[in-house]
Amino acid sequence: MKATARWLAEHWIAVASPIALLGLWEWASATGLLRAAFFPRPSTIAAHLGDLTLDGTLWSHTAITLARIGASFALAAGLGVAIGLAMGLWRGLRDGLDPVFAVVYPIPSVLFLPLVSFVVPAGEIALVVTSAVTSFFLIALTTTQGVRQIDRLVVEAALHYGARGRRLFTAVLLPGALPSIFTGLRLGLGFSLIVVVAVEIVSASRGLGALLWLSWQVLKVEDMYATFVVIALLGALLSYGLAALRTRLLPWVPDVGDR
């Protein structure tokens, strides 16, 4: 309690400013200073959010988006960690794949949709695979770096004590690379959300991205804002929730991406 009170006393602006802004917004669009067609009152948006939640619309779209994020993240994480570890361990593979990664990685994932839809059946599978592309590269690259930055001395010490093959891998290399792998996974999960939503905008009829885009096309502005709030909550949950989870479950694993 005391800690909370002290935090509030020091950071009251951080709490007061969003409340003040919402109040100002409410007042401005109620009096017509802001065009209510573009900036509906926060209370109206909240009411819409409540309606869409109660009639199940938001739940079903959110569930679809979450399932897609889960599937594409699992795909990206499995392949990314495996290939990243292999690239970290074998120099030849790393040298060979580096130029390929360098060219492909900066291309926005949405653009892979046409390419992916040539290879796998269009629809759900294409959507999930496309969303996995950027996360895959990110996770593979951070995992490779994780293996590469392990202290040479640690590896040599392990070799001197007779660790070889699988033992060297599970006892030294994997734990050494773990912080980077976690950072890659966290960033990759964030990217999965971004790309799933973007691909839903382009090519899906269900899911939060689709709901947002369709609401725009029929100019249901309140629904747009309500959907946006849900996407933002999802983003916050994925990025801050995962960071908190790691601190809780794996306190000894530092997050090298923390800045």
Binding site: H11, W12, I13, A14, V15, S17, P18, F38, R91, G92, D95, G96, L97, D98, P99, V100, A102, V103, V104, Y105, P106, I107, P108, V110, L111, L113, P114, L115, F118, G190, L193, I194, V195, V197, A198, I201, V202, G209, L212, W213, S215, W216, L219, V221, M224, F228, I231, A232, G235, A236, L238, S239, Y240, G257, R259
Partner: protein
């Protein structure tokens, strides 16, 4: 290996496509794509789409960087400002910036300002956060030394804080430029009627795959040049500093 593997992959692709092991309709041979790329570049229409994307990128980047750096610095040195802005930063930063597009489209209308600002927003938040991080993580001993030598106020800021934050600011600019490009190309793919992103979309719809791959290759090359180029500039300009961040 760095030359061998990509070359081998390209040759394999070429053979598979020529021998129709994979459908050449969907996977045209790399040489075909190369010819189309050269042809379209010579004809000038690919170049003009590239110019459209680059112009949007330049506007988006400048519109992001110019307010973001001072804001990040101000947040770093003045806590009330940080408390004031941080809630919004924390709320918007994890959101896919492409979702801002429909809002900007209804507010500004369908057109360049909405496209550019969507790209700009993704760079803006990244640059603010990197800049803020640069000020927050600077070695406090530097501040102490600066103060001991009598630097206060503006002098402390220009001589100590800003130089210390510079590597982080540069990293923010580099990451921001990359994000702006990614977001812009996605916006072009989704909503615009010009630019490299739209080119991929249009040729996908028309199934003119060699042109699609040509645009694709150009986007990859652009991303590569921008990220590698800025990294080289950073290593040059800030040679005395280790890089901060990813």
């Amino acid at each position: 290996m760095a030359v061998l593997v990509p070359t081998a992959a390209l040759i394999l692709w070429e053979l598979c496509s020529r021998l129709a092991i994979v459908s050449p309709r969907y996977f045209p041979a790399p040489t075909t794509i190369g010819w189309v790329l050269a042809d379209r570049l010579a004809a000038g229409d690919l170049g003009s789409e590239l110019a459209v994307t680059l112009t949007r990128l330049a506007f988006a980047f400048v519109l992001a960087a110019v307010p973001a750096i001072p804001l990040g610095l101000l947040m770093g040195i003045a806590r009330p400002v940080r408390d004031l802005v941080e809630p919004y930063l924390a709320f918007i930063f994890p959101v896919p910036k492409i979702t801002l597009l429909p809002f900007l489209l209804i507010i500004l209308g369908v057109g360049e300002p909405a496209f550019v600002l969507t790209g700009s927003s993704s760079a803006f938040f990244q640059i603010v956060i990197s800049t803020l991080g640069g000020v927050q993580t600077m070695d406090p001993r530097l501040l102490d030394v600066g103060r001991n030598y009598g630097a206060h106020g503006a002098r402390l800021f220009w001589k100590v804080i800003l130089p210390a934050a510079l590597p982080a600011i540069f990293t923010g600019l580099r990451l921001g430029l990359g994000l702006a490009l990614v977001t812009l190309v996605a916006v072009e793919f989704i909503a615009a009627k010009s630019g490299l992103g739209h080119l991929v979309f249009r040729h996908w719809q028309m199934l003119s795959t060699p042109e699609m791959y040509a645009a694709f290759a150009l986007i990859g090359a652009l991303g590569l040049v921008l990220t590698r180029g800025l990294r080289a500039v950073q290593a040059r300009v800030l040679a005395w500093q280790d890089e901060i961040g990813v």
